[in-house]
């Protein structure tokens, strides 16, 4: 079981996550929001490109993305691993999409990552508890 503190006074649940480079040798840590309303984790193309992935590859599968403001298509990439609360999950699919800068985040941590855990959100203590379901 992993416990992560969050600021329960904020209106969203902000987390830092790590994204491993394509060659697995280094990591970028960036701010995201925990989003149980997102099927898939979302990360910006610029960051994925710096990590050695190729989000501009026209051969990548494109996923239809239904948002509050409409429907779009975004490239889908599998990253080597995502790290949250010290827990690393390998081979996580992400959509390459830039969220509005006003959100103050670089991405969304969606259900395709979260489904690896039982998660409890405790607003009274500002704690998230992650219990890993698979090793």
């Amino acid at each position: 079981m992993v416990a992560i503190t969050f600021d329960s006074n904020e209106r969203l649940i902000f987390l830092d996550i790590g994204v491993t480079s394509f060659d697995g040798s280094w990591v970028i840590y960036l701010p995201v929001v925990l989003d149980t309303g997102a099927t898939t984790t979302i990360l910006p193309a610029d960051i994925l490109a710096d990590l050695g992935y190729d989000p501009g590859n026209p051969g990548l599968p494109r996923t239809r993305m239904i948002t509050g403001s409409g429907i779009g298509y975004s490239p889908y990439i599998t990253v080597k691993s995502l790290i949250v609360g010290g827990e690393k999950i390998d081979n996580v699919g992400v959509l390459c999409h830039d969220l509005p800068t006003e959100t103050g985040i670089d991405g969304l941590l969606g259900l395709n990552f979260l489904k690896n855990f039982d998660i409890t959100i405790e607003y009274s203590s500002g704690m998230l508890h992650f219990r890993r379901l698979i090793s």
């Binding site: 987390l15 990591v27 840590y29 610029d46 948002t67």
Partner: protein, 74 residues
């Protein structure tokens, strides 16, 4: 290696900015606790464009908050 700065100092010094850190200090719960400040800007795009200038572990931090009068639907 540049001077490391704590996240508290970063939030005080670079208010409402995006900050790029090299060799970040990361807590066991994967929180960014500090690092070497190599670039900062009000513009997130500038931070993204400068990423490739720095090799090794990096972290991006935003020191601002969503305005109270703004609702977010993600």
């Amino acid at each position: 290696m540049g001077k490391k700065v704590s996240i508290k100092e970063i939030r005080e010094k670079y208010q409402d900015e995006w900050v790029l850190l090299l060799n970040p200090d990361i807590s066991p719960e994967t929180k960014v606790e500090g690092g070497e400040v190599v670039f900062h800007s009000k513009d997130r795009g500038e931070i993204h464009r400068r990423l490739s200038d720095f090799k090794g572990n990096k972290a991006i931090v935003f020191t601002g908050k969503i305005p109270e009068d703004v609702g977010v639907l993600l």
